[in-house]
């Protein structure tokens, strides 16, 4: 029986429901000691000195590492996006909450207490804490999309076409700083055996962690062993190898014992990136037939000081390719502030960019008095107008159709404030989703026994995305055996290389490697006989990457209920229909889809990191006041997987499903809020005060 496509239970599910799955901080090293980070309380300046004597004298304290005594790190080479600071190598303070010291003690309680007693003297500089105040000092990114393309694009004459158009929208949309807040904090246990380093760490990329730590400490990658069989969510913040992992290794070197460093929830807000605040200026126009004639999308995203690295939120990517429009211009700019380095967060660029794009599309539909879904259909494109290539496949039309039907969109009355249930205003909104299909080279090892049992190993990760399960299914089908004959292992840098688990590309990248390695081993066993056959196979994407534009698509439909007097907004119904290519496992895929939608609901109504303008310090660095959705916020969610058997994008036909469902959710909710209340809110999260008439 074919396993791919079946909704089997997770193969690691039993371990997870019994609490036996081991996350990074849970590996038992009997002589491990504990490290706690000390972070700055100013956001710009220089450390003049530390008073550490009192802290050092506290019970159990083994070491206090500061820039004054920290080992110098060689920092040779490393991945392009390697994070090089703050690693206690100098006394500069670039943001509030920057790591400035590390306390190591025998117990967590002792290290924690001593960390609070480290006194720091600063010389303060004038900070920049708000990007909005210095938007005029924005600059183009140097390495947009890792330098693969320029930050700006233009086709036709968007400005000329705008001026003469029948209907126009000229508006600015704002998205806030958001934090990933995976349930598992960043955690590392580091142990040195001579000059060999073993690190148990929560990472979305064991390979990247290996490369990074090797480069930072100036040792060969082979001397660094990363172990991460389970990760308690990542959402992008465990993609890079952030300083706490290296600081744990540094501390282990200093004290000569294994060190465990678990970043506190508050410290997570300045330790591993965030989705940067964006200010997006959109000028869209259409002719009187409802055809887009001009789209201009100028995106500004918040950055740290450039000394810390570079990350730009690519907000304009969908604007370039989602609709048929002859005149399009997109730009991306960065605004430096005294903040920590931003990073990828679930659907980077697309989640924030599509909030603006799909809000503006809704506004234009209103201006044209055309149904928002109909407006999108009138601008449908079967070809990527940006790259001028055919799509490998695009079942978006079917997503619109099935989603609208399931939602009952045809029964929508077009006027705002026209649907009511007593005191409650009801609004229906929709938005389009898209996310690019990525694929990277990957390798897999298979050991197939004559008894049809198989061990498969890849240095990939399972963030909760179902990697263990779907790779077992892929292997089972390739070997022609039941899934329970497969033992799939991951999360170990000693296993064959795989890319970071990000960009929704794990199945598309790792799946083909597993498939190919299984097929090779199976053929070998059939031809050679014996007790077992082994194969390690490398695969990589091919020519198809250049011939086709590759994207997943979706249609998002939201119903909100807004208390007409109180302004409380609740999402009461949600339907998402998706073309995610071929689906490996309908059960884990649905989980990804509802998970992405829930993440989007948080973006729409709840999530916002609030920064004190005076000090640049985050005021709600906790998970009580940084609001993420709780169970009561989440209504019935209907997910529809639109069939698509295309195999051009990659040998498994998987378009990626982790990020696609988040894209467009915020806009669908914002558009529904407009429909309910008549109030157009051009920022998220949408709050009570935004709709309180």
């Amino acid at each position: 029986m074919v396993s791919i496509g079946q909704g089997i239970d997770r193969v690691d599910g039993r371990l997870k429901v019994t609490g036996r799955a081991s996350y990074a901080a849970e590996f038992k090293l009997p002589d491990a000691v504990h490290a706690v980070l000390v972070q700055s309380t100013i956001c710009a300046g220089t450390i003049i000195g530390f008073d550490i004597d009192a802290a050092h004298a506290m019970p159990g304290v083994l070491a206090i590492i500061t820039p004054d005594n920290a080992p110098r790190l060689p920092m040779q080479g490393g991945p392009q996006q390697m994070v090089r600071a703050p690693l206690l190598q100098d006394r500069a303070v670039h943001y509030n909450g920057q790591h400035i010291a590390l306390v190591v003690a025998r117990t967590f309680e002792q290290a924690n207490a001593a960390a609070s007693q480290v006194r720091v003297h600063y010389r303060r500089d004038e900070p920049v804490t708000s990007m909005d105040a210095v938007l005029d000092q924005a600059y183009p990114p140097k390495h947009f999309r890792n330098g693969e393309r320029p930050p700006d694009s233009r086709r036709g004459d968007p400005d000329g076409a705008f001026d003469s158009a029948a209907a126009k929208v000229d508006a600015t949309y704002v998205t806030p700083v958001e934090h990933h807040n995976p349930m598992e904090p960043h955690a590392t246990i580091a142990r040195w055996d001579g000059d060999r380093l073993t690190v148990w760490t929560a990472t979305q990329g064991v390979s990247g962690a290996q490369q990074t730590l090797a480069a930072l400490f100036g040792i060969a990658p082979a001397g660094v062993h990363i172990v991460c069989p389970y990760i308690g969510g990542g959402f992008g913040c465990k993609g890079n190898t952030w300083p706490p992992a290296a600081l744990a290794a540094m501390a282990a070197k200093v004290v000569g014992k294994p060190v465990k460093l678990v970043v506190t929830r508050a410290q997570m807000f300045t330790s591993n990136g965030y989705r940067p605040r964006t200010v997006q200026k959109l000028r869209f126009a259409a002719d009187d037939q409802g055809r887009l004639v001009s789209m201009r999308h100028d995106g500004f995203s918040q950055m740290s000081l450039p000394a810390l690295g570079e990350f730009s939120e690519p907000v304009g990517l969908a604007t370039e390719m989602l609709y048929a429009c002859p005149n399009v211009a997109v730009s991306h700019r960065l605004v430096a502030t005294n903040a920590s380095l931003p990073t990828y967060m679930r659907a980077p660029g697309l989640a924030s960019g599509n909030f603006a794009l799909e809000s503006a599309m809704d506004e234009l539909a209103v201006a044209l008095n055309i149904d928002p879904l109909e407006f999108r259909l009138r601008n449908y494109t079967d070809r990527d107008p940006h790259q001028n290539k055919p799509f490998a496949s695009k079942a978006l039309r079917e997503c619109y159709r099935q989603g609208a039907e399931a939602f009952g969109w045809a029964r929508r009355s077009s006027e705002p404030r026209s649907m009511r249930d007593g005191n409650v205003l009801i609004g229906w909104g929709m938005a389009t989703s898209t996310y690019p299909t990525h694929r990277m080279p990957a390798s897999a090892y298979v050991r197939l026994g004559a008894d049809n049992s198989a061990l498969v190993r890849v240095g990939t990760q399972d963030l909760g995305t179902g990697t263990y399960t779907v790779m077992s299914q892929i292997a089972a089908d390739a070997l022609g055996v039941p899934v329970d004959r497969i033992r799939f292992e991951l999360g170990d840098s000693a296993f064959p290389h795989a890319p970071v688990s990000g960009g929704s590309m794990t199945v598309a990248s790792v799946g083909p490697a597993v498939k190919a390695a299984c097929e090779t081993a199976r053929a070998k066993l059939q031809s050679d006989g014996g007790d077992f056959a082994e194969a390690t196979v490398d695969v990589k994407p091919g020519e198809e990457q250049h011939r086709y534009a590759m994207h997943g698509f979706g249609a998002q439909f939201a119903e909100v209920r807004v208390d007409a007097d109180m302004g409380e907004i609740r999402v009461s119904r949600f339907v998402g229909a998706f073309d995610a290519g071929r689906v490996m496992n309908t059960k884990t895929a649905r989980s990804q889809l509802i998970g992405g939608i829930v993440y989007g609901l948080g973006m729409a109504l709840l999530e916002e990191t609030r920064v004190d303008a005076e000090t640049g310090r985050i005021v709600n660095a906790n998970i009580a006041e940084y609001l993420v959705p709780v169970n009561a916020d989440v209504p019935d969610i209907q997910t529809i997987i639109v069939p698509n058997d295309e195999l051009v994008s990659n040998p498994l036909g998987a378009k990626g499903i982790g990020e696609l469902p988040m894209v467009g959710v915020a806009a669908a909710v914002a558009n529904a809020v407009y429909h309910a209340t008549g109030v157009r809110v051009r920022k998220v999260p949408i709050r009570i005060e935004d709709v309180l008439a």
């Binding site: 309380t41 309680e109 609070s116 409380e568 109504l605 005021v619 009580a624 959705p629």
Partner: protein, 325 residues
């Protein structure tokens, strides 16, 4: 968290004696104090554990309700007499925190929880409540959640307890006790202090003094009481604005009315202006609207929380409408 001595007395009087020392905190459910200890906001050298002293009875008779201070929030909320005769208390409790916290948190501890102001809870900020004289960056800073009533130039931190709002509406009395002193009773309306220029002093409790019980009079209004809580998140969040109302009518007229609000004041905020506008009046929607429009007289909003003034009036109106339905 700083090191402390953990005292675990088994009788109240022992606890009071042991607590009669400097740098001492009582610990009951621990749901707030543990957070404050972990943040080094509280740094006592001694914790006096109240777990073993009993003090967890809930009793009601015709005259009223007596809840001992160590009674758990969830037990009080589930108590049939409370639900029948003082529903606003049960509703306020069930709108508080999470089921786990309510299983741990005590009535006394709930009334003494500290503000959620982010500046207070992070020692990386200045805060007059935490370090008198260090300044209040919240007034010109992130103040969306903070108070519009009762603030001073030194502090605008919101009182966070839902229960306290309900008890303020019901004119509850607090029974206080300390070593070497007589038991005394203080109306909850006089228990909390305004911040003025001493925001670090939040209540009239003296050093080593403990809330031992809450006494709530029975009344027809209390039997017809209601709690409304507004918040961004559907559950497990502190109030943006809340309203507690208790209403008794006779022949279509308002005979007894009590209204209090949460999320808006530096202490649980009684709204006598609304009560006065309704007392004795014929109960109809116009009267409710007129009265609720007076809610929050004298409010001084900060830069981000002006909407709370509007929201307060609407919340009071909705709560009154619900209670009069």
């Amino acid at each position: 968290m700083q090191a402390f001595h953990l005292a675990q007395p088994t009788a109240l009087l022992d606890a009071l004696v042991v607590a009669n020392a400097s740098d001492t905190k009582f610990i009951a459910g621990g749901t707030d104090l543990m957070q404050l200890l972990k943040e080094n906001v509280e740094t006592p050298t001694q914790l006096v554990d109240l777990e073993r002293v009993g003090l967890s009875k809930i009793g009601a008779d015709a005259g009223g309700l007596r809840i001992e201070a160590m009674a758990r929030m969830s037990d009080v909320a589930a108590h049939p007499d409370v639900r029948a005769h003082w529903p606003v208390i049960a509703q306020a409790l069930e709108a508080s925190a999470s089921p786990q916290v309510r299983n741990m948190g005590t009535i006394g501890g709930n009334l003494l929880q500290r503000t959620r102001c982010g500046y207070f809870r992070d020692t990386g900020f200045n805060c007059n409540k935490r370090e008198p004289g260090s300044g209040c960056p919240a007034i010109a800073g992130e103040n969306r959640m903070l108070a519009i009533l009762g603030g001073s130039d030194h502090c605008i931190a919101t009182h966070a307890s839902d229960l306290a709002v309900a008890l303020t509406a019901l004119d509850a009395m607090l029974e206080l006790r300390r070593a070497g002193g007589a038991q005394r009773e203080v109306p909850i309306t006089e228990f909390y202090r305004l911040p003025a220029d001493t925001p670090h002093i939040e209540t009239v409790l003296q050093a080593g003094e403990l809330i031992t019980a809450v006494i709530v009079p029975a009344s027809a209004a209390a039997r017809n009481s209601h709690y409304l809580k507004l918040r961004d998140r559907a559950s497990f969040e502190f109030a943006l604005v809340s309203a507690a109302v208790a209403l008794e009518t006779a022949s279509g007229a308002v005979r007894d009315i009590r209204v209090a609000a949460g999320g808006v004041g530096t202490r649980p905020w009684r709204l006598p202006e609304v009560e006065a506008a309704l007392r004795g009046k014929q109960l109809n929607d116009d009267a409710l609207r007129e009265a609720s429009s007076r809610a929050g007289e004298g409010a001084r909003p900060a830069t981000q929380n002006g909407f709370k003034q509007v929201l307060l009036r609407r919340a009071v109106l909705r709560a009154l409408q619900t209670a009069s339905a």
